[in-house]
Symmetry: C2
Subunit: 137 residues, 2 copies
């Protein structure tokens, strides 16, 4: 499922990281030039949070979504730089009824975020709870 795209500006990246992940290569654009990434990059938590926004808009149901139990295997194979256009795709892997709570289902899905060059910037697998439309079915 196509979940649209987003862009993080240099100011966005610095604002998020100043509050939540103030490592030099996330907050200091001048110093970051001599750092391990050759420039400022977004916190991985910023990328995942901005991705979540797109998932809420396109993928998570406001009526039946019950939140996430957890997330497996977040990978950031390529850094996210200011101005990158990041495209979000979500794919359902598995949907089954909860054995302990029969009015809900458990949906396992993968999310892939690619940049404007087609390089994968982030992947993750999420485990979400949903209310069943008809628990008696």
């Amino acid at each position: 499922m196509d979940c649209g795209s987003f862009t993080l500006s240099e100011a966005d990246i610095i604002a998020f990281a100043s509050q939540y992940d103030p490592q030099p290569f996330h907050v200091d654009p001048v110093g970051a030039k001599d750092g391990p990434y050759g420039g400022l990059i977004a916190s991985g938590w910023h990328t995942v949070s901005a991705t979540m926004r797109k998932l809420v808009e396109f993928y998570v149901s406001a009526e039946s979504g019950l939140g996430a139990a957890g997330v497996d295997e977040i990978r950031w194979p390529r850094p996210v730089r200011p101005g990158d256009t990041l495209h979000v795709r979500a794919t359902v892997l598995e949907a089954r009824r909860s054995s302990s709570k029969p009015d809900r289902g458990i949906v396992r899905g993968t999310v892939e975020v690619t940049n404007q060059d087609g390089d994968v910037a982030m992947t993750l697998t999420a485990i979400n709870f949903v209310l069943l439309r008809d628990p008696s079915a």
Copy 2:
């Protein structure tokens, strides 16, 4: 390693979730009372981002930290509510030299966040890159 504690206020929770995770139980304190959690709860991404702040303060080295390759098995077994005091502990599981880049090491560690009642609110496993102090050693 003790990494201190943090608290998210109702205003903090709503501000983060309005931008990044606008599901009803994260942004609407009145509606959330009738929702699946019986009240407003923090976005899991907010909890993880606020935890990251403590890890940068106490655990990640500003001199040798090179960022994270990824994170495994984030779990949110209990919701985080406004005013909860959340305590962060990090434990190194494994540290080894990178086989592809011999000037760096790869550190695998777990992070556990517990609330004021001693209940576990979040766990995760992170895989971080670090520069070696003496690559010739």
